[in-house]
C-alpha cells in the first residue's frame, strides 16, 4: 500500500485520524502550526462528564503516534495547495514540498472572543473571566481565588456567550458549553464547599451520555442554582464585585445579583486554520461558517472537493468524545476512498 495522506492540524482529531490511517498502513504526515501536538486540549484541565484529566487523553494519543511511522511537522502552516491529476502538492511555511493522495482537514475551532460581548465586561472588569481562564486556574492554582486574590463566596456562570446570538452573528448552539459550565460549577463547589453558585441559562442542552446525570448531581450534591434567564448586562461595584442583571423568567421578575466572580461560557467558532484551508481548497461552508459535508447523513467526513476529508470541530462544535469518534469515522472514509480507487 503506497497511498499517502496529509493531515492538517495536530489537535486530538488530527492525531486520532493519523493514528488510525497509519495503523491501516498508509503513509501519514501530520502538520501542526504550534510547537507541539495536542491542540486546545493541552490548555484544558478536566473533561465532562467523567472529570478525567485532559492530559491523560492527550498523552494516550501522543504515546501511540510516536510508536507509529507518522511524520509530524510542527511549527508548520500550509502556504499553498495544488491538486493535479488527483495528487495534492502542499507547500509549508518551512518551505517543505509534500505530496499526498488525500488530505484530511482537522483544523478545529477557536473559542469565541468574549470581549466582543462588551456588556459582559470581559477585559474591562477584573472579576469577569471565561470558561477557558477557569480551566487555566484549575490547572495552575492550588487555592482558587478571583483575579483580585479574594476567595469567592458567590460565583455566577453565564451560558451562551457568543452562541445562539444574532448580535455577534452566531445563530448556532456551541453544544459543549452547557456541560462545561455544570462540570466547572461542580469542581468549584468541591474546592470551595461554602461557595454559592448560580448558572444563568436560556436552555440547558444536556444532550450527551452522562450529561443529564451531571446536571442532576450539580443540584443534588453541590447545591448549584439554575436560573432561567439571560444576563443582559453587568457592571462593577465599588468593591470590585460584579453586579449582573437578568430576568428570572420562571418567576417573571427582574433580578439583580452581586458576585465575586463571573464566568462566561464562551462558545465555539470555526478555527482560523479552517478558514485559510477552506479558501485555498475552495471548500464549501455552511451558514455557521463551519465546513460543509458532502452529505450530512451519509458523508459527514467528506468535503465538497474529491480527495479532501475532514474531521472534528472544523465540521461543527463537538465534545472530545464525539471528536475522537468522528476522527475514526474520517479515517474509515479515507480507507474506503483508496480501496475504491483500486
Amino acid at each position: 500500500m503506497d497511498k499517502s495522506v496529509i493531515v492538517i492540524g495536530g489537535g486530538i482529531a488530527g492525531i486520532e485520524v493519523s493514528n488510525q490511517l497509519s495503523d491501516l498502513g498508509y503513509k501519514v504526515v501530520l502538520i501542526e502550526k504550534s510547537d507541539k501536538i495536542g491542540g486546545k486540549l493541552l490548555e484544558w484541565d478536566r473533561l465532562f462528564p467523567t472529570f478525567r484529566k485532559a492530559d491523560e487523553v492527550v498523552q494516550r494519543l501522543t504515546r501511540k503516534i510516536k510508536q507509529l511511522p507518522v511524520t509530524i511537522e510542527t511549527l508548520s502552516e500550509i502556504t499553498s495547495v495544488v491538486k493535479e491529476n488527483g495528487l495534492f502538492s502542499v507547500v509549508t511555511n518551512q518551505n517543505k514540498n509534500l505530496n499526498a493522495d488525500a488530505l484530511v482537514v482537522t483544523t478545529g475551532f477557536e473559542l469565541f472572543n468574549a470581549r466582543r460581548k462588551e456588556e459582559y465586561g470581559y477585559g474591562i472588569y477584573d472579576n469577569v473571566i471565561t470558561s477557558a481562564d477557569l480551566e487555566t486556574k484549575f490547572k495552575t492554582e492550588k487555592q482558587l481565588t478571583n483575579p483580585l486574590g479574594k476567595v469567592p463566596k458567590r460565583i455566577a456562570f453565564v451560558h451562551c456567550v457568543g452562541s445562539r446570538d444574532e448580535k455577534v452573528g452566531n445563530h448556532y448552539c456551541s453544544k459543549v458549553c452547557c456541560a462545561t459550565g455544570v462540570k466547572q460549577a461542580i469542581e468549584l463547589q468541591e474546592q470551595l464547599p461554602n461557595v454559592e453558585i448560580y448558572c444563568f441559562y436560556m436552555d440547558l442542552r444536556m444532550y450527551g451520555e452522562g450529561f443529564e446525570e451531571l446536571y442532576r448531581k450539580a443540584q443534588e450534591k453541590h447545591n448549584v442554582q439554575f436560573i432561567r434567564g439571560r444576563v443582559s448586562e453587568v457592571s462593577e461595584t465599588i468593591d470590585h464585585s460584579i453586579q449582573l442583571k437578568a430576568e428570572d423568567t420562571l418567576s417573571g421578575r427582574p433580578l439583580k445579583m452581586s458576585v465575586d466572580l463571573l464566568v462566561l461560557l464562551a462558545g465555539i467558532e470555526p478555527g482560523k486554520g479552517s478558514v485559510s484551508v477552506k479558501n485555498m481548497l475552495n471548500l464549501g461552508k455552511m451558514e455557521s461558517g463551519f465546513l460543509e459535508p458532502a452529505d450530512v447523513h451519509f458523508a459527514r467526513n467528506i468535503s465538497s472537493v474529491k480527495g479532501v476529508f475532514m474531521a472534528g470541530t472544523c465540521i461543527c462544535p463537538m465534545s472530545v468524545n464525539d471528536t475522537l469518534e468522528n476522527a475514526r469515522s474520517a479515517a474509515f472514509e479515507v480507507h474506503h476512498f483508496f480501496q475504491n480507487q483500486g
Binding site: E166, S232, E233, K245, E247, T249
Partner: protein, 118 residues
C-alpha cells in the same frame, strides 16, 4: 335558568379555541422578527420601566402569542420606548417597533366587534 345561588368562576386555562389571533397576525406580518422570541428575558432584565413598575415586556409578548390580550393598552403604556430591549435581544427582535405597532393596533382593533377588553 333557575338560580341556585352559586357563582360560576371563569376558567384560568388558556383557551386555544377562543384564540383571537388578529393582533398576533398583524404584528408578525409587520415585524416578522416578533415570532422568533425564545423567552430568555434579556429584554425584561434591561427594561427601563421594569425597574420601576410592574411591567414585563417578555411576558406581554408571550401572552400576545397565546392570544391573551386583555388589558393590553394599560400594560403597553408603561413602556418608555427607550429601545434597550432591542439592543440586547439575541434573536434580533425589534421589540420597540413591536410596541409601536401594538399601540397603533389598539386604536383600530378597539373599533372592531367581539374583541376582549384591550
Amino acid at each position: 335558568m333557575k338560580d341556585f345561588g352559586f357563582t360560576s368562576i371563569e376558567s384560568r386555562a388558556i383557551d386555544y379555541s377562543q384564540f383571537d389571533d388578529r393582533l398576533l397576525a398583524h404584528l408578525v406580518k409587520e415585524e416578522p422578527s416578533f415570532g422568533l422570541c425564545l423567552s430568555c428575558g434579556g429584554c425584561t432584565a434591561t427594561c427601563s420601566a421594569a425597574n420601576l413598575v410592574d411591567f414585563n415586556i417578555r411576558r406581554l409578548g408571550l401572552l400576545i402569542r397565546r392570544g391573551e390580550i386583555e388589558n393590553l393598552s394599560r400594560e403597553i403604556d408603561k413602556c418608555m420606548l427607550c429601545g434597550k430591549c432591542s439592543l440586547v435581544c439575541p434573536r434580533g427582535i425589534n421589540l420597540r417597533h413591536v410596541v409601536m405597532l401594538i399601540k397603533k393596533s389598539i386604536v383600530t382593533l378597539k373599533e372592531e366587534p367581539q374583541l376582549k377588553e384591550l
